[in-house]
Symmetry: C2
Subunit: 596 residues, 2 copies
C-alpha cells in the first residue's frame, strides 16, 4: 500500500487544511481552500479568516507586497469559496490569537482565485447564537450545517458509531443489513408503506425495527448480530421523535439476561471512554420496574439527583386528615415528596407547584415544613405526635426541609410527582450536568391492559420471554406475569430496551393467543415466524438502543435535530426540499393507486 507523503488531507487544490499550520511552518509556501468566514478591511491590509471543517486560518492581503492581489481581494465577500497561495509568516506582536490553533501565524497571500461567490446568507454562519427562526434554518439547512456546533455534533455522532462498531467487532459480532422493503410487523405503531408496482394492490412496509429479522438470523445460526439500523414509524411526532430514526440493534444466541446486560455495560464503558475520555462505573445500578414506580413514579428516573418519593398511606390512614384519607378510601394512594432545603419555598412557589401538578390531573398538594425540629403547616394538627415522628422518620426530613403530599389514583400520583420531581430538581439546580447515571430497569410486566380494548397487550412486544417462574400463571393471571425484559435509562432518558425472546413455538403461540389472535390471524401475520421456530431455535435475546438520543446526550444538546443532518419537522416534512410532494399521474398509474 502506498502512503501519503503530503499532509493527511492535502489534495490537488490545497496543501494544508485550515487547522494545521503552526509556527514551525513559517517560511513555507502553502495553498489553502475554504470559505471566507470573516473579512476585515483595516485601511491598507485586508484580513480574511478562511474556514474549512477543520479550522480557521488568517489570510493577509498586503497592498505593499502584492498590490494587484490586494486590489482584487477588495471584492471578496463572506461565504465565498476560494483558493489562496502564499507564505506562512508569524503574526505581528500583540496580534496572536491564543483561542485559535493557528493563531500564531497568518498567510501573506500572493495569489488567490475564487471557486464560487455567495449571496448574503439569511443568518450569520459565524455567530454562536442564531437569531433566525426554525423555518428559515430548515429552508437553508445547507448553511445551518456550516455552523460549528452541527459539524461538532456530527463528529461526535460518527465517533459514537465508530466506537460501537469497533467494540462489537472485537466481540465477534457481525453487522448484517436487513431489508428496508419488508412486511408490516406489529410493533404497535403505524407503518410507512410502499405500493408495489409489480404486484398490484400490495404494499411493502418500512421496518419499525429489524426485530423479526434479527430473530431469524439467530435461528439461521449467526450467533451474534448487530446493526446500526434505520427504523421508521408513522406517528404523530413529539418534540424528540422523527419519522425515521437510527437504532443500534443487537441480538445474541445462547444467552440469558445477564449476558446481554454485561456486554452492553462493557460497550457503554468503551464508548464513553472513546467519545468523552470518561471512565464510567460498571456494573450499572439496577431497579425493578415496581421499585422505580414506587420511588420515582416513573420507569425512567433521572438518578443524577435524589428526591425519592415515599408511600405514606399507612400513616395517613391513622391521621384525621380526611381530604387525603378520602382518596385512599376511593382506591387511591398517598405519596410524600420530601425536599431537602425546601422549607425556603414561599407560599407562592408552593402554589406554583400545585398549578404545575394540575396539568397532570392532580387536584392539589398538601405540605409541611421542618422548622425548629418539628413539622409545621396548617395540616399538622391532623397528625398526633407519634404519627408526626413516624412521618419524619419515614420521609427522613431534617431541619429546613419540605414535604409535599399527593393523593389520587396511583397512576396520577406517580405521573404528577415524577414531573414535579424533575421540575423541582431544575428549579433548585440539583442536576449535575457532568454526571452520567445509568440504570437498568427490569422485571417489567409482560402484559398490560389496553386502554381501548380492555384486553392484554404486550408491554414490550409479543416475542418477549416470560419469566420461567411465572409461566404457569400465563392462563390464570397474565397481568401478573413478569417479562425477561430490561430497559436502560441514562439521566432520565430511556435510551434502550431489550429482552430474552421466546424460542419455543408452543410458548409463542400461547402468547399470541393471550393477545387475542386467532389461529388464522397467527398464521397470516406470523406464519413464517412460527414455522421458523419449528426447526431448532437457540435461546436468544438482545436489545435496541436509540442512537439519535444517545448522541444527543453525548453532545449535551436538548434537541434531536441537532444531531441529524437532514431532520424532518414536527409535521414530518423536509422544508428545504419540499418533501413529501405530489408525484406524477403516470407514477400513480404504474403503482395502481389513486389518491382521494
Amino acid at each position: 500500500m502506498t502512503t501519503d507523503i503530503k499532509p493527511l488531507l492535502a489534495t490537488s487544490l490545497r496543501t494544508h487544511t485550515c487547522d494545521n499550520l503552526r509556527k514551525s511552518n513559517i517560511g513555507e509556501t502553502v495553498t489553502l481552500s475554504g470559505w471566507v468566514h470573516r473579512r476585515r478591511d483595516h485601511g491598507g491590509l485586508i484580513f480574511i479568516d478562511l474556514r474549512d471543517r477543520y479550522g480557521l486560518t488568517q489570510l493577509v492581503f498586503d497592498p505593499k507586497t502584492h498590490p494587484k492581489t490586494h486590489h482584487i481581494a477588495q471584492e471578496i465577500r463572506s461565504e465565498w469559496t476560494l483558493q489562496a497561495t502564499g507564505k506562512v509568516r508569524a503574526r505581528a506582536e500583540g496580534m496572536t490569537n491564543t483561542k485559535l490553533e493557528t493563531g500564531e501565524i497568518e498567510i501573506e497571500v500572493s495569489s488567490f482565485q475564487p471557486y464560487s461567490m455567495a449571496k448574503t446568507p439569511p443568518f450569520s454562519i459565524c455567530d454562536e447564537n442564531i437569531e433566525a427562526n426554525d423555518d428559515i434554518r430548515s429552508t437553508y439547512r445547507f448553511l445551518d450545517l456550516r455552523r460549528g456546533n452541527l459539524i461538532a455534533n456530527q463528529t461526535m455522532r460518527f465517533k459514537t458509531t465508530t466506537a460501537i462498531r469497533e467494540f462489537f467487532t472485537q466481540k465477534d459480532f457481525l453487522e448484517i443489513e436487513t431489508p428496508i422493503l419488508t412486511k408490516s410487523t406489529p410493533e404497535g405503531a403505524r407503518d410507512y408503506v410502499v405500493p408495489s408496482r409489480i404486484h398490484p394492490g400490495t404494499f411493502y412496509a418500512l421496518p419499525q425495527s429489524p426485530q423479526l429479522f434479527k430473530q431469524l438470523l439467530m435461528i439461521g445460526g449467526f450467533d451474534r448480530y448487530y446493526q446500526i439500523a434505520r427504523c421508521f414509524r408513522d406517528e404523530d411526532l413529539r418534540a424528540d421523535r422523527q419519522p425515521e430514526f437510527t437504532q443500534l440493534d443487537l441480538e445474541m444466541s445462547f444467552v440469558q439476561e445477564e449476558d446481554v446486560i454485561r456486554i452492553m455495560e462493557e460497550m457503554f464503558s468503551f464508548v464513553f471512554k472513546k467519545c468523552l475520555n470518561l471512565d464510567i462505573q460498571i456494573p450499572f445500578k439496577r431497579m425493578t420496574h415496581s421499585q422505580c414506580m414506587e420511588y420515582y413514579g416513573s420507569d425512567r428516573p433521572d438518578l443524577r439527583y435524589d428526591l425519592q418519593l415515599v408511600r405514606v398511606d399507612e400513616i395517613i390512614k391513622r391521621s384525621s386528615f380526611s381530604a387525603l384519607k378520602e382518596q385512599i378510601g376511593k382506591g387511591g394512594i398517598v405519596k410524600a415528596l420530601p425536599i431537602p432545603n425546601g422549607a425556603k419555598f414561599s407560599r407562592k412557589e408552593i402554589d406554583e407547584f400545585t398549578t404545575f401538578v394540575g396539568k397532570f390531573g392532580l387536584n392539589g398538594l398538601a405540605w409541611m415544613k421542618m422548622s425548629n425540629d418539628k413539622l409545621t403547616s396548617s395540616i399538622v394538627k391532623f397528625f398526633d405526635d407519634d404519627l408526626q415522628k413516624e412521618l419524619i422518620a419515614n420521609t427522613n426530613v431534617n431541619e429546613g426541609d419540605l414535604i409535599l403530599f399527593a393523593a389520587a389514583s396511583e397512576a396520577t400520583v406517580n405521573q404528577a410527582l415524577d414531573h414535579l420531581r424533575r421540575h423541582i430538581a431544575e428549579k433548585m439546580d440539583l442536576i449535575d450536568e457532568n454526571r452520567w447515571e445509568f440504570l437498568w430497569v427490569y422485571d417489567f410486566p409482560l402484559f398490560e391492559t389496553d386502554k381501548d380494548t380492555g384486553k392484554p397487550t404486550s408491554v414490550h412486544h409479543p416475542f418477549t420471554m416470560p419469566n420461567e417462574k411465572d409461566i404457569s400463571s400465563l392462563d390464570s393471571e397474565p397481568l401478573k406475569v413478569r417479562a425477561k425484559a430490561y430497559d436502560i435509562v441514562l439521566n432520565g432518558f430511556e435510551i434502550g430496551g431489550g429482552s430474552i425472546r421466546i424460542h419455543r413455538e408452543d410458548l409463542q403461540r400461547k402468547v399470541f393467543e393471550i393477545l387475542d389472535l386467532s389461529s388464522d390471524q397467527i398464521d397470516q401475520k406470523f406464519g413464517f415466524f412460527i414455522r421458523a421456530l419449528q426447526y431448532g431455535t437457540p435461546p436468544h435475546g438482545g436489545i435496541a438502543l436509540g442512537i439519535d438520543r444517545l448522541v444527543m446526550l453525548l453532545c449535551k444538546t436538548n434537541s434531536i435535530k441537532d444531531v441529524i443532518c437532514f431532520p424532518k419537522t414536527q409535521r414530518a416534512s423536509d422544508i428545504m426540499m419540499d418533501c413529501p410532494s405530489a408525484i406524477a399521474q403516470n407514477q400513480l398509474d404504474e403503482l395502481n393507486i389513486m389518491t382521494k
Copy 2:
C-alpha cells in the same frame, strides 16, 4: 473497563464455542451450546457433531460411563439445539480429523439438555451442494442461512465494510446518515414512493442514491463524507439486481478527478489486504471511454485476458471482399478479433460462434487462420499479398491463430464482439480466477442521445462537471462534450462510478437547459439545489461503489443473493415473509389512497 477472563464468546449458557477446544484443553469440563449437525449411532456410542457459527465439536455419549445420558441421547435428531456438558478428551487413535480445527478432541458428555427440537429440514444443512429449488430455499431462508457458505459470505461482507470504514476513518471522512424518506430525484430509474398520512396526496420517495444530500453536505462544509448507504430502484429486475441495494457513497470537497481516483485506489489496496491478504498493484490501469470501446467493444472490459479487437476498415476498403465493404458503405465498421491458438477451432465451432453473435444482431462472422506462415480461408483470395501482410501486422497473429471479422453498425459490432470475446475466453479457459484486474474508464461523453426522445440525456447524471476544455461546445455540440467522470471496472464488472460535480449555478442551469428542462421545471424539481449553489459551493466530487457486487466478487460467487441475508426474488418479493402483501382498509384510508 472490565475485561473478560473467560474465553471471548463465553456466555452463561456455554463456556466455549464449537471452534475453540484443542488438545491443550484435555481434562477440562466444558459446556457447549449449538445445533446437532450430524448424528451417528455406532452401536454402543452415539456421536454428535455440534455446530455453531464458529465451528464443529464432536460430542460422545457413552453408555458405559453415562448410561442415563446415553439413553436419552438416542432421541436427539438433526438441527435440534442443545447444551452439553462434559470432559474434553483426546480422540481415539486413528479417529482424529485433520480437516477440523477441533479434530483432535471430543467431549465425553456427562449431561445435556435440549433447548429446542426440530422438524426434518426440507434440505440438508450439512451438504455443500444443495438440491432444493430456489423457491424452497427462499421459503426456508432461515435454514439456508445456516449453511456454511452464507455465513462465510456474510463474514466477508462484514470484513469488507469494516475495512472500508477503517480506511475512511483514518482519512478523516465522516460517515453521515442521509434520509430514506426523501424527495424524488432524477437518477433515471423509477422511484419507490411512500404515501404521506399527514399531507394527503403527497409522497416521499426512497432514495436511488444520496447524490443531492452528499452534494448538500459539501455545500454545508463537511469536506469529506462517506456512507454505506441503502438505495432503492423500482426497476424490472435482472439477475444481479435487487430492489434495494447497498453502495459506498463518497464525496470530497476541494478535489479534482485525480484526488478521488487516488484515494479509491488506496482504499481498494487496504480492503484487499484486509479481506484477502492480497497486495494489489496501484495505480490501476486507465483507459478512455473511446479506447475501451475501440479495443474491447465495451466500457467495462475484463482485462484478465487479452483478446483485443482491431479496427480493420482501412484494409477491408482496399480488399475486394464486397460483403464487408458493403457494411462500410452503409456507415458501418469492420473489426477483427484475433484469437491466439484459435486455428484449432473446427468449422462447427466457428459456426457456433456465428450463432452466438446472431443473438446480438450480427449477421455473420468471416474468419481466417494462420497456418504455415500464411493466412488461409475461403476469403483470403479477396486480399492481395500486401494487404495480407498488413492484416497480419495489424492483428499481430502468429502460427496457429484465428482471426474473426465482424461488420455492421459500430454499436452492433461492439456489442457482439464484446460478448464473443467473453464467450471465447471462457471456452478457451483463458480466465485466471486469481487475478484482480482493475481499470479506470474516463473521458466519458457528458450526454448521449435518448433513444425514445432523440434529445440529449446525461450519461451519468445532470450534476456531472463537463471537461473545462469542452465547456465552450456545450451549446454548439453538446454530444461532443466530455465529462469529468470515471468508472471503476473490476474483472469485467462495473463496480462503481463517480465524477467531479458542477459547483457553479450558471453551469448547472445550462446543463439542465440542454436536458430540455424549462425554468419552471428546474425551479420545481431542483429549486432548493440551485439555491444551495448560490451560497458558496466548493469544487467537489465523489464516487459510488456497489457493495453487493464488490462482495460478490470477493466471495467468488456468481449471484448477488449469496451475499445478502434476505434477498428478494426477480419479482421483487420475499417468499418467506409473503411480502409485499395486502394491507388493511383502515391503513389505506388513513393514507388517503385507494388501490385500483
